[in-house]
Symmetry: C4
Subunit: 244 residues, 4 copies
């Protein structure tokens, strides 16, 4: 215990695939409950001032995402994001079977999280969003947002793994404000937010444009950071934090 107490970073945990999938699913569900729930609370209380609602949404998402990575990262890597899982598989961190299962539970978890948030606020489980988010400026925003997110993850995993959870939470807090799309940067999040006609929603018709921009950016960022940081693949077995 004394040796353990000295460790500034997470203790690795020997987890089988079942535990990893529960961690990814539950973590993504909590992430969506946070994004959608705090968006509703913010809009309910802000008296029409959307900047105050977005400040609340930002604070809750940034803090909550950091904690989720701390909690589930030692089990599953704490992806909660198919774009992260895809590039991690590309760099050799996950097998095809594992990455497919990860993406599946992430999407299921995301919808469960939206339903959980709607229940907390006395709304129906799902209802399609009417929030328009379309056009090249929005797609460019999602490209920039996701490029930055994937760059942050690879760089910190490689140079300073103990700080990944905090860096990701801070990055998303910044990106909610500096992109015009408020940085979805996550295909599972994008799909599930289409099922919520609230502050955080996105019209189903606008989802494909977001997904394409996100996936392109994830591969572009991985290619660049693979050049910037030598031996990036060595870090692949602990993206976001690590999984055995």
């Amino acid at each position: 215990m004394s040796a353990q107490a000295n460790q500034p970073v997470d203790q690795p945990v020997a987890a089988n695939l079942a535990k990893k999938l529960v961690a990814e699913g539950l973590g993504t569900a909590f992430l969506l409950a946070i994004v959608v729930g705090s968006g509703m609370m913010g809009e309910n209380l802000a008296g029409g001032n959307m900047a105050i609602a977005l400040l609340a949404n930002t604070l809750s998402t940034g803090a909550g995402l950091t904690v989720l990575i701390l909690v589930f990262g030692p089990i599953s890597g704490g992806h909660f994001n198919p774009a992260v899982t895809l590039v991690d598989a590309w760099m050799g961190g996950l097998s095809k079977l594992e990455s497919s299962a990860y993406v599946l539970v992430q999407v299921l978890g995301a919808f469960a999280g939206v339903a959980a948030a709607h229940l907390m606020f006395d709304e129906e489980l799902f209802f399609a969003s009417t929030h328009v988010r379309a056009g090249p400026a929005q797609w460019w925003s999602e490209f920039v947002a996701t490029f930055g997110l994937i760059g942050v993850i690879w760089a910190c995993v490689r140079s300073r793994p103990g700080v990944v959870a905090f860096a990701v939470g801070l990055y998303i807090s910044a990106a909610y404000w500096f992109t015009s799309s408020t940085s979805f940067a996550n295909p599972a999040v994008t799909l599930a937010r289409a099922a919520s006609d609230t502050f955080a929603g996105i019209r189903p018709a606008d989802v494909p444009g977001f997904l394409i921009a996100q996936v392109l950016a994830a591969f572009a960022a991985t290619a660049l950071f693979n050049w910037l940081y030598p031996n990036l693949a060595e870090g692949a077995d602990r993206v976001v934090t690590r999984h055995d």
Copy 2:
């Protein structure tokens, strides 16, 4: 001192039961003074915009709770919460005598903290709240909030004890916004907030529903994380941070 300076986490402290109980009582008192005091200040200054009042309440509670765990954690574990004490006892971290004494001083401390806040703002020591917080959506909110809190504590205690204080503060900051109940997640806090007819109050009649949801969630989260993290009980002797 040089060896000590190298330590990234708390130095354990040899504390007897008297010191532990003073730490729990004083810490819970400060926690309630923070929650109730910042709620009053926020409402007084926010000019009717409840989102701004809740942002202030969130900032103060999240930052303050982190500090309280840093300050009192090395003495008593820094529970300040009967739900935490209950599951810690369940996992073998505390004897029945100790846990009963903990809960007693937590509740007494919580009421003392409410009185201290009322004194700072020139109010009567206690007055029953009229703030309605009832119904299944609120109970589900308290279940989610407490489930998350207990999960955060067990996971971080097990994988990265030095980060517990920060993770708990960040989690509560997020949970104030993503749950419709604003996350009491603590039976002592719930009881004492019934004695404050202010921003942070809860009608006495609504207290039992909250307590039941909180206790059920604490046990559910402990059971799940006992499966997710191997040897969870090994961490029981340092929940929240540690007590020799």
Copy 3:
């Protein structure tokens, strides 16, 4: 350099008294420039909503104070506060000569910082405040605020020195909101804020009540934490962070 890079906490620095006094004076000046300057900026921009102005003031003070302790702590201990210097001397960390010199440069630095802020905002160097802050509720607030601050410092210095700067910044951020006095908790700050008729000011006639409450609380907290934490005096030579 490799050994140094491994250190999670500050490298001690061999500093003579001249360097310590420059660090205390310049640090206290920056602290007051932050408190007064951000108060003016907040009030100028907030359009009459005092909660928004205080949120800005809180963010700037909490972040700035943390940084000042990181910057000057390794040289002088980073007190910037006669109440801290007094109890540090009481516990044997500073000689009478040193502590008198500390208090002197803290007060001079505080007034210089107020003048620096007024210059940045195109105001006169000094002008007496008319902001009333009187009565038992305010004195009790200052007692609670300072008791907490000194407790935070002693506990973290003793159990986890690397976190002191962050804990102090977080504590003050919380205390700006949960006390009705907005937590001056510092005699040098109190004196200098009497020379600023702005958001952060205090009427000169109300200063003595604040000073008395602050000094009483500092000694009370030191006595309590000297009982809670064994061998507290061993930490005295590195309050707030450390000096030689």
Copy 4:
């Protein structure tokens, strides 16, 4: 990997000049996209309350800058600021050739970042600002802001390199509010913000006064901290964090 996981600070990375210049250019571009983009988003949503817009701008810039230093610091030092590069060269950390190339890519990156932000918000690539920021109070503000920034960097690099990224982000968050100029504190940022007629802009005619104040302050702070901290030059090879 186990040894690496123990490291609380960044792993140094062997990077050639090409990688360093890409890191400086891309990092400065992201910094400007953050500053300008979050300024536009804040102003668009804040309904005329400039304090709320500046709170959003502060949150995004402080969080984003911290992350950028974590991401690119191990490659290039994470300057993103000609004032930092100048004093680093003065103290022997960079050759004349390297520092000239750094400044060039910083300025180019800054303009690219402004263009990227304008694209995200459907604006023209560049348009000259009409935001007046002139007079001695503003110049004094920029002197104070830059003096503090350079002091923070040197002190933390020397005494606690692992905390530099966080200290810089916290400092800038504070400085946005306690200076009347909102702390540009960076010649590349100042030049590029002249090309944005938005919340974050500065009239081209007002740029020279800002640049002079910033450069003077950078040298003044370096001289003072070279006296305060012994052997400051030993830290020069890892400003802001390090570059092998």
